[in-house]
């Protein structure tokens, strides 16, 4: 019984936290950041993220997408660059994403698209998608 109560309290806490984060994420004017450096958007996002890293685009061996990961049960922000001045999208040698598309380089590129995903069934899927820059 004690464990159930603790678990319930934990889930409630997680959900409330996620809700607050979701509200913060939804209130950002992402259109403003289109065609501006990804770094400027990263600074505007809630800073409570677990990690920021790069991934491939929609094709496994071409990059990159910047992921802002707020942790399990919480929304996740995907930022796609529209320029490739500081990195090379193709990854023919199948290097790990952090090597193929270093975050420090990719975040200097300009924002093309922003997508927020939430896994809650009650949320739209995706939660928000702002597209696109030049």
């Amino acid at each position: 019984m004690k464990y159930i109560l603790l678990l319930s309290a934990f889930i409630f806490y997680q959900k409330t936290n996620a809700q607050t984060l979701k509200d913060s994420l939804m209130n950002i004017n992402y259109h403003y950041y289109l065609n501006k450096p990804i770094d400027s958007l990263l600074q505007a996002l809630p800073q409570s993220y677990d990690s920021i890293y790069t991934r491939a685009g929609s094709s496994a061996f071409v990059g990159a997408t910047v992921v802002v990961d707020y942790g399990t049960m919480k929304p996740m922000v995907y930022i796609t660059p529209g320029t490739k001045n500081y990195f090379t999208p193709a990854n023919p040698s199948h290097q790990p994403p952090s090597i193929a598309w270093p975050i420090n380089l990719v975040k200097q590129e300009q924002t093309w698209q922003v997508t927020i995903y939430s896994l809650f069934f009650s949320d739209p899927w995706p939660l928000k998608q702002v597209c696109c820059g030049n």
Partner: protein, 544 residues
């Protein structure tokens, strides 16, 4: 003498007692009856107007406006007994359009001060919505309307995005409200005139679809309509179906599957302001077509003369509810539990037909990326069907390794059957990976509700198709954990590097990684197919 007077006294006292008892026995029942009557009405009214304190302010406003009408006409006690009680906390609230949405309009200072509220009415101890109050609130003004489930058929049949209220629009709203209160989603549709264009056949099921994606709220108000179409489907023949809006290519003499057009606006509230989505716009009532004699104008009780229903508008005004309640309802009945729907396996000849029809467009879009200046950019589109034709629509170039979000807008008569994109990665097909985790996320937004929904990937040397073969199985397979895994790119970063061909043939490796994740179609509900160049129409199932 004294004994005589005592006797008189006893007789007098006895008489007095008898008279008192008699008087009480006469007076008491009438007093009691009156007390009960007054008490009931008060109790009914108190119960009817019992709006939870934490309910949205607009709902309190609606209740107050209705109370004001009741103070004039006193119709609520009778109305509650005959029509039901308002379920205030299940009101659907539509606030004005938000100032910012996902596709621009940001910064526009557009405001609309019209709020629309739909409050269900349910009879005591009943389990179906009997009607609803529709309230349009502009500033302090509240216009109250009453729509009875029983009278829906007094409205004209037509589209749900019509400029006037139609029977179909009332049905949709009743289904949404039923879902809000009772969680009912499936009904047998009894009225053969309703949704005539969307559903064919004798046995017709109507189902509320609350899972569709939209940008405004948690529910789109869309419905999906299933109907038995055995008499209209001729498998592997063309035209397969009489209807232009079914999925008979896949129903194999068994099932039709279709989407109705979405209701105007999008998004619903669930009793709280935060639940509200985009603006709504409940249209005006059509001109009165029934009754003929005119006149009428409502009553304090809502009674009406049979055959003379709805002689007034739906407006509640001057302390009177409109006449009605004698229409041809009910619309629907709750169906008995249906056995799980397990469709026949997709026949590859269906995929061949689709692939053939989009083949030229698909090759052209793929090759476009290799033209000078196009920088290997991906192309995305949706696949639609109209009048037997299948084609790509809303084509838009993305970036290298990234598509734009699909644009799902359709024209009248068009049906969405899938999502399409290309993977034009250099000149070596080995880098042209299979569907990525992101692609599966995009696919999932529609696939969770649409049997037969597919995504097609053009890789030049191969064309891949993933199709929902068993919607129920697919929904069971896509647990929260699996969604989380896909979101975290488990296939791409955990399974893909494990493949033996990871460094030598990325396309094969990524295909095998996805197959490892999804497994057999009997397990995940998805059929995964590939067809090879040059024709790219002879599909082989990769996950039998």
């Amino acid at each position: 003498m004294k004994r005589k007077s005592d006797l008189y006294l006893v007789i007098y006292a006895t008489l007095l007692i008898i008279i008192s008892i008699f008087s009480i026995s006469i007076i008491s029942p009438s007093c009691k009856k009156m007390d009960v009557h007054v008490g009931n009405d008060t109790e009914i009214q108190s119960r009817f107007f019992n709006v939870p304190n934490n309910e949205a302010a607009v709902v309190h406003k609606v209740a107050a406006a209705l109370k004001k009408q009741n103070n004039i006409g006193g119709f609520i006690p009778s109305f509650a007994k005959k029509e039901g009680y308002a379920v205030w906390d299940k009101s659907l609230i539509y606030y004005p359009e938000p100032l910012t949405n996902t596709y621009g309009r940001n910064g526009e200072n557009e405001t609309q001060d019209t709020i629309e509220v739909f409050t269900p009415i349910v009879l005591e101890n009943d389990n179906i919505v009997n009607g609803f109050f529709f309230s349009r609130i502009v500033g302090d003004s509240v216009a109250l309307h009453l729509y009875r489930a029983n009278d829906y058929d007094l409205f004209p049949n037509g589209k749900i995005d019509s400029t006037v209220v139609t029977a179909e629009l009332i049905i949709i709203k009743l289904l949404q409200l039923n879902d809000e209160i009772f969680g009912h989603k499936k009904y047998e549709l009894l009225d053969s005139n309703a949704f005539k264009k969307e559903i064919h056949g004798k046995y017709r099921t109507i189902e509320l679809d609350t899972n569709s994606n939209n940008n405004g709220g948690s529910e789109t108000g869309r419905i999906k309509v299933r109907g038995n179409c055995t008499f209209t489907c001729y498998y592997n023949q063309t035209p397969e179906c009489i209807s232009t809006t079914n999925w008979c290519t896949f129903c194999q003499l068994y099932y039709c599957y279709s989407n109705c057009p979405s209701t105007p606006g999008s998004g619903t509230g669930t009793g709280s302001p935060s639940g509200g989505g985009g603006g709504y716009n409940w249209p005006p009532d059509p001109p009165i077509a029934t009754g003929g004699s005119g006149g009428g104008g409502g009553s304090s009780t809502g009674n009406c003369i049979p055959g003379n229903c709805r002689t007034s508008s739906t407006l509640i005004v001057e302390g009177r509810v409109p006449c009605g309640g004698c229409g041809g309802g009910p619309i629907i009945i709750l169906p008995p539990e249906e056995p799980p729907y397990i469709p026949s396996e997709i026949d590859t000849s269906d995929l061949r037909i689709i692939s053939e029809k989009i083949s030229n467009q698909s090759d052209s879009l793929f090759n476009w990326a290799f033209l000078p200046g196009n920088n290997l950019r991906e192309q995305g589109a949706i696949i639609v069907r109209k009048n037997g034709n299948i084609y790509l629509k809303n084509i838009a170039p993305g970036k290298e390794g990234k598509t734009r979000p699909p644009n799902y807008s359709l024209e009248t008569g068009e049906e969405l059957i899938g999502y399409y994109h290309t993977h034009p990665v250099d000149t070596s097909y080995k880098q042209r990976s299979f569907f990525s985790d992101d692609d599966f996320l995009t696919f999932h937004s529609k696939a969770i509700t649409i049997q037969g929904y597919m995504m097609v990937l053009e890789c030049g040397n191969k064309r891949f198709i993933v199709v929902v073969e068993n919607l129920q199985k697919y929904n069971e397979f896509m647990t929260f954990n699996r969604k989380m895994q896909i979101r975290n790119r488990y296939i791409e970063y955990e399974l893909l590097p494990q493949q033996s061909t990871y460094y030598t043939n990325g396309q094969l490796a990524s295909t095998n990684a996805a197959l490892q994740f999804f497994g057999s179609s009997s397990n995940c509900g998805l059929g995964i197919y590939e067809a090879n160049s040059p024709g790219k129409t002879n599909f082989t199932k990769l996950n039998p």
